[in-house]
Assembly symmetry: C2
C-alpha cells in the first residue's frame, strides 16, 4: 500500500524538470474539498494515518527504479535522485474524525517541491476515500442512534484496499464494527458475522442447518432465516430454541435479508415473542443506507448490516477535492482557472461555537491571522517523521462522536442538509492580489 | 492483494461448521449480476485474471493463522485445517472483455464446499469492480470513436487497488492507456502524462514554465494552458513554438482543464492554426464521462483525460451482483428469498447472432442443454491451477473491441439503453422444482 509508483506519470516528469532547473525550494500544498455533494451537510476528515504511513515509508525500491529506467523517459541522473528520495517535510492536519466543510484544508504539506509533488496522487487517493466513507457512515450513525451497525461491504467495495479502509472509516465514524476479517487483523476493528444463504442451502433441511451452526458456535449464533420463507424460518427458530437451550446453547439473533424488512421484522418479532424468545434480537441487511435506516426507525430491528451503499458512498461516490500549491519559495501561489480558483498561502480553519454548544461558524484565514475561534489543523509530522505516535483508532472514534454532537441541525439532517457557512478572512483576497501580481 | 483474510468473518464461521459436520462435498457456485443498472445496456466481463491469481495463491500465512487463533472464536483443529487449505477446484468463465447481460453467470466455481465458500468475498470483490469499470469505460469508448482516451482517475479511485484495476479494466475496454505509473509497471498498460497546475504556479512566468518543461522533455511536451487564462496560455504557446523548434523541440499538444471545454478548444484551435501550428493537438480533462464525450464530439479536441467518473463509475457505482450456491453434493440448490430467487444447477450462456452480425439473443440454460447458439463460458482452471497461461492483456483488449462491435444499437446507446433479452431454457424451471422438492 506504500509503493512510490502509486502516482501519476506527470509527477515524475515534473520532478525531473524541477531537478533539471534547480527548483527544490520549499513548497506548500493543501488538500481540501471544493464544494460538498448536495446530499452532504458536513464531511468527516479521515485517512490521515494512512497518509502519514505513506510519507514515512516513501522510497523507491530497486524494482521501481528499474521500471523508471526501463521506461525510456528518464535519464540515469534522475533515477539516482529518485533512489535517494525520502519525504523530509512537515504535515499539519485536522485530526481524524473532525467534521469539516467546503474549501477548508484538511491537511497541509510543507516540503521541498519535488517531494510534495510526488506525493500528491496518493495523498488525495487516501484522504479522499476515507473522508468520503466516514462522511457517509456518519450520516447512518446519526440516522440510527442506539442501533448496532456493522459494515458488510467488502464484496462490493472497489477493490481490497477500499474494503479495508471503508471498514476502518466506518468504525471511526461510529459504526460498531465490520465483517471484514482483514480489517480486524490490521486495524483492530471489532468483527461480526452471521451466516450466508449457501450455508442453509447446502443442507437439505433448514432447521438442521440452524442446529448445526448453533452447535459449531454455541456462544455466537445468529441465524439467517429468509432463504426460503422468512416467517417459516422464524417458526423453525422458535421450535429449535428450547432444544438448544437444553444443550446450553442460546440463540443470539436472527437475520432478515430480503423483502419488506420492516414488515418481516414485525411478524418475526411476534413469532419469537409468542414463543417466549423476547431476548433473541433481529438483525437486518440488504440495501441499507441512512434513508432506509430512517424509514425503518420504528421497526423492531436491533441492528443492521450495511454494505454496498456505504462502501461505495453510493449516492455521492466521490468528493470534489484537490491538493493545490499555495506557496513556493516563500511567495504565495494560486491558480485562477475558471470555477477552480484557489486562495493562496498557509491557511488555518478557526471554529466558533454558539451558546447552544453547536458550531456557529468557521473562518478560513491565514495561519498567522487571529480571528475568533479555535484552530482545527495541528502539526502531526516534522522532518518526515510523526511528531507523536499515532493515537489508537478508538480515540479517533471518540473524537468523531464528540464532533458529530457539535453539528447544527441543518448540517446533520438527512434531507436537504446545509453545511455550516465558512467565512473568508480579509487577509485571503489581499494575499490573492499579491499572488496575482507576482505571476505572469 | 491475495490475503486469505480478505474475506467476511462468516465464511470462516461457516467453514468451521462445514468441517465439524463433514460437509466437504463438491459445491457449485456461480457469479452473476441480477439486473443491470438503468444506465447500462450491457456489461463487459473483467477481473478474471485477478480471480485466478487469487485462487492459485490462496493460503493462510503464519501471521493470518495466528490472528484466527487469537480471535478466540475458533479451536486449534480448525486452525490446522486452515493451515493445509489450498484451492483445488475448477473454474469455468467468460473470457475478459466478453459483453454480457443480467442473470448470466460470468464465472462458475466447482470445489469442495469450504474452499468455494471461503473464496466468495474476494471473488465478488474482484469481478464486481473490474466488470463495473470496464462496462463504464466501454461506453466512453463507444461515445468517442477515434479519440485518444486516457485514464486519469487514480487520485479519486477508491484506494490504490481500485486505481490500479480501473486502469487495467479501462485499457481492456478500449482506452488508450492511463496516467497511473504502477498500472504500467504491473500490467503493461501504456502510460501517459502532461503537467499539473502546480508546475506552472511554481514558476513566476507561465511562458518560462512551458519552456522549462519542453527542455526537460523535448520529445514529450504537452503543456497545460488554463492555470490563469486559457487563450492567453495558447498565445504564449504560439509565441514559444518557433523558439523551441529552433532547438529541435516540437510541442506535441496543449491541455485544457476548466471552463467550457468545447468553446475554449475552438478558440485555442484557431490561435494555434493562425500561428501555423496545426499539428499541435488539443487534449481536455475535467469531469469527463460518456455524456460529456458525446456533447464534445464536434469540438476540435483530439484526446481526453478521464478520471473520477470512470474510476468510480459515478452514475452507477455498483452492480447488483452475487455468488450463489447452485449445487451441493450433486443436488441442485437455490434460494427463494423474495426478489432474489436464483436458478439452480450448472449453467451456460448460449449466444445467437443475427443476420446483421449483431447479437440476436442469449439463452440461459443448463450446461448440458443444447439450445441454439455458442456457449460463452469456457474452462480456465482445473485442480486449482490455470489450464492455459494467461493471455496478454492486449489480447483481451482485442476481444473486447470485437465484442463491442456485436452489440445491437439498443444495447450500445448512451441514453435509455436496453440490454439484450436473455431467454430462460425450460430445463431451469424444471430443475428449480426439483431443488424446491429436495429442501425443507
Amino acid at each position: 500500500m506504500t509503493g512510490a509508483l502509486l502516482t501519476d506519470l506527470y509527477q515524475l516528469t515534473m520532478m525531473k524538470s524541477y531537478y533539471d532547473h534547480g527548483m527544490e525550494d520549499v513548497a506548500v500544498f493543501e488538500f481540501f474539498c471544493r464544494k460538498l455533494p448536495e446530499e452532504r451537510g458536513f464531511l468527516m476528515a479521515a485517512g490521515l494515518e494512512q497518509v502519514l504511513d505513506y510519507l514515512e515509508n516513501l522510497a523507491f525500491t530497486p524494482e521501481e527504479l528499474a521500471w523508471v529506467e526501463r521506461s525510456g523517459r528518464f535519464d540515469a541522473r534522475f533515477v539516482q535522485r529518485l533512489e535517494r528520495l525520502r519525504f523530509t517535510g512537515e504535515v499539519v492536519a485536522m485530526p481524524e474524525g473532525t467534521v469539516c466543510f467546503g474549501n477548508e484544508p484538511l491537511l497541509r504539506v510543507v516540503a521541498p517541491l519535488p517531494e510534495a509533488q510526488l506525493a500528491e496522487t496518493r495523498i488525495i487517493n487516501l484522504l479522499h476515500f476515507q473522508t468520503l466513507i466516514a462522511s457517509k457512515a456518519a450520516r447512518m450513525v446519526l440516522a440510527a442512534p442506539g442501533k448496532l451497525l456493522v459494515d458488510f461491504g467488502l464484496r462490493r467495495a472497489h477493490g481490497a484496499e477500499a474494503g479495508l479502509l471503508a471498514a476502518r472509516a466506518g468504525y471511526l465514524a461510529g459504526l460498531s464494527g465490520t465483517s471484514t476479517v482483514a480489517a480486524a487483523a490490521r486495524f483492530g476493528v471489532p468483527v461480526f458475522g452471521t451466516m450466508a444463504h449457501s450455508y442453509i442451502q447446502a443442507h437439505v433441511d433448514e432447521a438442521r442447518a440452524f442446529a448445526h451452526f448453533a452447535r459449531s458456535h454455541p456462544r455466537n449464533t445468529v441465524l439467517l432465516i429468509d432463504t426460503y420463507d422468512t416467517e417459516e424460518g422464524a417458526r423453525k427458530v422458535a421450535k429449535l430454541a428450547p432444544e438448544l437451550a437444553a444443550e446450553g446453547i442460546t440463540i443470539l439473533g436472527v437475520r432478515l435479508d430480503s423483502g419488506d424488512l420492516g414488515d418481516h421484522a414485525r411478524k418475526v418479532r411476534r413469532i419469537l415473542d409468542d414463543a417466549g424468545l423476547g431476548e433473541i434480537t433481529i438483525f437486518a441487511s440488504g440495501n441499507i443506507d441512512e434513508y432506509e435506516l430512517e424509514a425503518l426507525a420504528a421497526a423492531p430491528i436491533d441492528g443492521f448490516g450495511i454494505g454496498t451503499r456505504m462502501d461505495t458512498s453510493a449516492d455521492a461516490p466521490y468528493l470534489d477535492c484537490a491538493y493545490k500549491l499555495m506557496e513556493y519559495g516563500g511567495a504565495p501561489k494560486r491558480k485562477r482557472s475558471e470555477g477552480k480558483a484557489t486562495w493562496p498561502g498557509r491557511k488555518q480553519v478557526f471554529r466558533e461555537m454558539g451558546a447552544d454548544g453547536r458550531i456557529a461558524g468557521d473562518t478560513l484565514a491565514l495561519e498567522d491571522d487571529r480571528p475568533p475561534g479555535t484552530p482545527l489543523l495541528v502539526p502531526v509530522m516534522a522532518g518526515g517523521k510523526r511528531i507523536h505516535p499515532s493515537p489508537p483508532l478508538v480515540q479517533g472514534r471518540e473524537h468523531a462522536a464528540a464532533q458529530l454532537a457539535l453539528l447544527p441541525d441543518a448540517a446533520r439532517r438527512l434531507h436537504g442538509p446545509r453545511p455550516v457557512a465558512v467565512a473568508v478572512a480579509p487577509s485571503l483576497p489581499a494575499l490573492a492580489e499579491r499572488a496575482d501580481r507576482g505571476t505572469r
